[in-house]
Symmetry: C2
Subunit: 349 residues, 2 copies
């Protein structure tokens, strides 16, 4: 695209206007529009096609130290996504290449040479998976599931693996991978539709509907995990984590991937009051941050693309169209409304 | 000793009369006296010399599943101890042998062949350590420190190791072992006397007096753990664990050995509300139960006896004489009154 035409393009963006107290709402965002600039030497201009909406984004909106810095007030909201290169001053990228990386909640992302080094934007091959699969099984959720389950959880064939947020982006892949590795797999999800999908479509051995009653998780574990739980992949925290702690086995591994039940708290996070079950059962609880495994993503992608190809792994994305819907669409994550990996489609290819 | 004289001996015992709500008190115990019996074929009669009083005993008084069954109402209170064989119908033990094992809070323990198999009573060599050291560095607290720190914590030379209950039975050995392994070691203990002893006598690099003010632990860590905490050996739980979680390093290891601050709660255990620090820091929290390492005790004892011999390791026991003092002496553990490993001396050799 010629540089003159780039200057006439307008870039629609969402910036963080204020830090939320509890659930994010429209007042936390400022929608802005600015002219698209030209890439500098070594840089790229990427047109956003689809953005990944993830629970972790809620954390980035908070002030304070975490595994990455918070988004600053006034800054374009951070988001991973898939885009197409529309201008390149970098010999490694050509116009038309599809790329995955930190694009932000905006229609166009001007990527500098420094950004490229820091954020690791990379080309994707649409033969390995669809565009939305590259945000799901082959993207951050899939990598999180892969390394969290296999490296941290180290499940052995025959063990019982329990995963919360089972119909979510990470959970669906955790469960399917655990099945592929020969485990008994039980999910926890909200509502009969998600539970049915997880069992019938994804092949989990069972799924507990945590919304079905006050003792649903406890009773569900008794019924479906009669031999206890060897690996618990936790995406939710809160009461469910505490209940699971009462039924873990000796030497159980609990992977702390997230705690979506706690992200919008206006009170302190609920600590797991049954944590001494770790002592009784000589068990461990360990956190995972997917970025640590960046040098092995390509290996996981190759393995998972194979499973997608031969039908051993399925994926489901919940795609909402339109950058303008961003504030509302994001909140679907926290109400549990999304069914599958939540994707914000920004432009058709 | 002839069997006729055994029958005239009276065995003074403490039995569990009721389960405590909160701190144990005199009403939870029933003192009984019965004639000492004769050992059956394959069994032993052991005269109790000294008993180990440990925080874990509080847990055994509760109903419900733990890593070992609770003490039943009416049963002699479980306690580990050192004794002398005074009658033997087992060829592996001779009258006069000193032994270590589960003797119970009583003057004489009649040990059956089954008990021997189940509880692993073993002969001790008083050349490796004194009788009270066999309940401390060379006993369960020392074994817990050794395997908890080295197997679970896996400290590397140069790392910062923090240990709570630093002047207690387990903590004193954890810190000294970590120093021997080349770590920087900071303790947490209650009161200036314990802190001074830990630094001046045991050679810790620093010790934080958690009783010295409301932000003592936070400020103490800032001052003494400027590079964060790599290994935290937790004997106390509660607020201190939560504070430590705010300063752990990437890939930190937290060994959950106990939670003495929570054992006498009349409200639910306080879960670590900062547990998501495990995620942010890709850290792990793992429980230890010393019994799992029984087949390697002899190796640890040999190593630790060497350190005692060459003066690289010191030990301190807080010895109280008299079985009758048991109910009061036990509560010293929970008030933090004991200074060093708490030992109830029952009889002179």
């Amino acid at each position: 695209m010629a540089s003159s035409s780039l200057n006439t393009l307008s870039n629609n963006q969402f910036r963080l206007a204020s830090r939320p107290f509890g659930l994010p709402n429209a007042t936390n965002w400022k929608q802005t529009s600015e002219a698209v600039g030209e890439p500098l030497e070594g840089g790229l201009l990427v047109k956003t096609l689809a953005l990944s909406l993830d629970p972790a984004m809620r954390g980035w909106m908070n002030e304070g130290k975490s595994y990455i810095p918070p988004v600053a007030i006034g800054e374009v909201m951070r988001a991973g996504g898939i885009g197409k290169v529309i201008a390149s001053k970098n010999p490694k990228f050509a116009v038309g290449d599809h790329v995955s990386g930190s694009l932000g909640v905006q229609e166009y992302a001007l990527i500098s040479q420094e950004d490229l080094k820091r954020n690791g934007l990379f080309k994707i091959d649409l033969r390995a998976g669809t565009l939305t699969q590259w945000l799901n099984v082959l993207g951050m959720p899939g990598m999180t599931a892969y390394f969290g389950l296999l490296d941290v959880g180290q499940p052995k064939a025959g063990e019982t693996v329990l995963v919360s947020g089972a119909a979510g982006a990470v959970g669906q892949t955790v469960g399917q991978l655990a099945k592929i590795k020969g485990c008994k797999v039980v999910g926890i999800a909200g509502g009969p539709a998600k539970c049915e999908w997880v069992v019938k479509e994804l092949g989990f051995d069972a799924c507990i509907d945590y919304k079905s009653g006050p003792n649903a998780v406890k009773d569900g574990m008794k019924a479906h995990c009669p031999n206890g739980v060897d690996v618990y992949f936790d995406n939710v925290g809160g009461e469910i984590l505490d209940t699971v702690l009462t039924r873990i086995n000796r030497k159980a591994r609990i992977i702390i991937c997230g705690a979506i039940s706690q992200y919008n708290n206006t009170t302190p996070v609920q600590g797991p009051k049954n944590y001494l079950s770790l002592l009784v059962n000589r068990a461990r609880m360990e956190g995972i941050v997917v970025f640590d495994y960046a040098d092995r993503y390509h290996l996981a992608v190759a393995e998972m693309a194979g499973y997608l190809k031969n039908g051993r792994m399925k994926s489901r994305e919940d795609v909402v169209f339109g950058l303008d819907t961003f504030p509302d669409t994001l909140t679907k994550l926290f109400s549990g409304e999304n069914f599958g990996k939540l994707v914000l489609e920004v432009a058709k290819d």
